[in-house]
Amino acid sequence: MRVLLCTCDRAIKLPDLDVGPDNTIEQYDNMCKKKPDITHDEKVVIAGCSPNLMETLFPNVNAEFVNLYEHIILVGHPVYKAKDLILAAIEKMKVITPVKPKVFTIDNKSALVIGGGVAGIEVASQLAQNSINVHLIEKTPFLGGMVAKLDRLYPEGTPYSHTLMPHIGTMLKNKNIEYSFNTEIKDIKGKVGNYKIMLQTRSRGVIDCSHCGKCIDVCPVNVDDEGKKRKAIFYVPTYPETYAIDFKTCTKCGECIKVCLGKIELEEKITEKEIRAGAVVVATGLNWYDVSKVEEYGYHRLPGVMGTLEFERAIASGTLKPKKVVIIYCVGSRDSKHLPYCSKICCFLGLKEAKLVLDRYPNTQVYIAAMDMRSFGTFEYFYNTVREKGVTFIKGKPSEVIKRDGKFVVRTEDLYTNELLEIEADTVVLSAGFVADNATFDKLGIKLNGDFPVIYGNASLGNIELPRGIFTAGSATFPAGVADTLVDARKAAFSVLSLFKQDKIEAILANALVNEDLCSVCRMCIGTCPYNAISIVDDKIKVNEELCMGCGICSITCPSYASQLELFNPQGLSNQIKALVRKGDILALLCRWSAYNATDRAAYDKYMYPENVKIIRIPCSGAVDPTHIMLALISGAKGILIGGCYPDACHYVRGNFLAKAREQVLKMNLQHLGFKKDIVRLEWIGKDEANKFVEIVKEMNK
């Protein structure tokens, strides 16, 4: 192993450093000016200044960094420490598995877009215009998604078609888009740059269409399609122009065939087709929460209670002319029994419905019963517009909707007047929250646990340093209005284009590897991973490379050392501790994101601390095993400090909570084994809290 020693302009002199027969020392006066070459697969020890600087000089190397400048020179500690630190680092690196570069070849530069709503259309359009081949699949027979079902888009009040049709038109101009309707994905295999997707298409029913519409006249089946009346054979004026049969409601009576000038086949067929793509964009849009679960509002139980979409379609088609409407907000949202979060756009949707009905029927009485009005940004103007139209706003959460003497009665509190109100109405509209499309993401191997991808930020769809292959656009990311959806779609398209600009990506990032010879599938690790990266596949533990963030929590949890984190494993740290700690030392195991940086700060600000403090940098306070503590104790340590991030600030979400749990159980054991209660301390030390670090180690040194 090479030991690369920077003497910091000859400030460090280590003439009798003996690194053993298998290792060599290379000395540099200023490593920052003349960087040695290090290959990706060799293991090295780099001794110089703080890793925070060194890591930027030497990214992606398998190295243990020894801090001589901030930890010895600046704080005036004796030079023998440098020897100890370097030799200990060598002991650690001996057993480390070097990080294998994860190679991704972008073999296929075409994209699969799942969803033919406004988000999918925009993504497909942008990609196609940039010469990318796109396959767009849509699970219904027509394009348009949610926007095609709406009447108007607010706040402008323009009909949906004014926004949707131009976008469809632009997209259709591109020759390099293939469309599959009535299609969903069955399963997907592979990884970024190389996905193999099995598509499943159900028959459309109408093979050849002359657009005459006679079939609709003769079809005997009436369907209430979310507030709009249609037949089992129907048409949506977006694209394509061929009519379609809704086989869920079609009775196969054959009346349509009799009058069809084209061709209809009533036999339901399912065909499968395998396609390949380099990237997948999920644009599956909005999914409403099933509000029949909010039983007190009587959806499905009391006919006439409807959701916002049904209401809008019923008003737009003229089939509903209400005299008194109550719109209830936050149905299922911000509720520990249903959805704990806020779905962001429903407040606006409710205002939209209010304006819609008042524009058509100005004499209708409209009430909005809401806990809050979250009309963020410029929607506040819209809120004022609706208020001026004479809508009555009641602040409070309705307790129930009942039917009394044929009318609806909405019972609610009014927090402004401190009264309990009963509002009679002939129509009750529920503005419900939205849920994430778990089904599609499950198929793509991404576990959301009910959350939206946006909640995890970058981590949900993989480590940001790894190339992503699966992107989201529009409301699949988080519920959004049309304007925000278009922006989000363009962002997704851009991400795909950036990906496709590369042919081969080599990502060097430490992952957890599972040694199948040691793993007994005890499942202890699965629940501890903050990123849900561990699962059971074919009765074996598998770590999803794309989700693993390299925190080391699973490695420490594993009772058999079967889980090994590349570049940092528990045995390496054990060896390092045994080599480093002398009798009377204080061992400080400091998290690289917070506490370790405080020690650099201490050096710069000249907070002096005792020389018997030996510091080791660890990925997370959750990467410390009680075994390490015991090794330090047996080596004669006077005290052990584990420094981590504050409770709500762990870089790996909850590594510090695990550290806390381990510390508590460990402390009990140590007390029974004759040690003082605070021989081990777990402390939260922020990256700038140099004085806190110094105070603690001074206390421990007494």
Binding site: E296, E400, I402, R404, V409
Partner: protein, 287 residues
């Protein structure tokens, strides 16, 4: 033969003899054996708001008695049901169990606590009841009052549907009587605030009596002695306060069921009903 430890609580033996009498006689008809719980005490409910832990320990003591008998508990009162169910669940938690043991109690066998009406629904079953009905009460119209602690909180009881309750209605229907749907079925009787704000409690009771009167029913069916205290014992107060006449008999469900099973009026303890049910009995034909 199904055997249960019968927990009577405090109110039933003193103020609701007709509930106990009808329940025991119905049980006999249905081949259910009630075993007395020696040394059973109050369930603890009355002091729950003052000292929750003590009230639970008092309840747990009763659980311990049944546990030693190796029998599940049947209760007649809603509050007793809630109190004992809660205590039984608390025994699964280390700290509570420790205190329980320190008081010298033991829990050798698992005990399940159910309201008598729930036992009829879940363990006897509507089919058996239907077959046992000898005298269908098709001539009667009633409203069914569930009370609060029979199903709520849902996480404790995990029974019926607190938002859309149906089990008592179904049990009433199986006797032949018509259980009328009415608004505010889920409303509380007011019993819990009787001691603090009588006017409010009586107003709450009045609300349902008023609905009962407007629905032209022959009786209000109750399954809890506290609720009956409000609707029956305080019916006169409501009449006085709201200057109206009700005269609505309040029957306990076992009384109604007993009549449908062919029991005579004495066997169901009609003589103990404070609001006279003579008109109802005439309709049924057991005057």
């Amino acid at each position: 033969m199904k055997r249960y430890a019968l927990f009577l609580g405090c109110t039933v033996p003193v103020r609701a003899q007709h509930y106990e009498l009808s329940a025991r006689n119905v049980a006999k008809e249905l081949n259910i054996e009630f075993v007395e719980m020696d040394d059973a005490s109050c369930c603890g409910f009355p002091i729950k708001a003052v000292d929750a832990e003590t009230s639970l320990l008092i309840a747990a003591r009763n659980i311990s008695i049944a546990s030693t008998m190796n029998l599940n508990i049947v209760t007649l009162c809603n509050s007793c049901t809630a109190m004992l169910s809660d205590a039984q669940k608390q025994l699964k938690h280390n700290e509570f169990y420790k205190k329980f043991k320190e008081l010298g109690f033991s829990y050798p066998h698992d005990v399940v606590v159910k309201h008598f009406v729930r036992v009829l629904y879940e363990e006897i079953g509507l089919d058996v009841l239907k077959k046992a009905v000898k005298k269908p009460l098709n001539m009667l119209k009633v409203i069914s009052h569930y009370g609060c602690h029979y199903m709520r909180p849902s996480q404790l009881h995990e029974f019926d549907n607190p938002e859309v309750p149906h089990t008592l209605d179904e049990l009433v229907t199986v006797t032949g009587a018509q259980s009328v749907e009415y608004v505010d079925k889920k409303m509380c009787c007011g019993g819990s605030v009787l001691g603090i704000d009588e006017a409010l409690a009586v107003t709450m009771a009045n609300h349902k009596l008023h609905t009962a009167k407007n629905s032209n029913v022959d009786a209000l069916i109750s399954i809890c002695p506290f609720c009956t205290v409000m609707y029956e014992d305080n019916q006169r107060k409501a009449e006085d306060k709201f200057e109206t006449q009700y005269g609505i008999p309040v029957l306990y469900y076992p009384q109604l069921l007993g009549l449908s099973l062919g029991l005579d009026k004495n066997a169901v303890g009609i003589r103990f009903n404070r609001v006279k049910a003579s008109a109802l009995l005439e309709k049924v034909g057991v005057a």
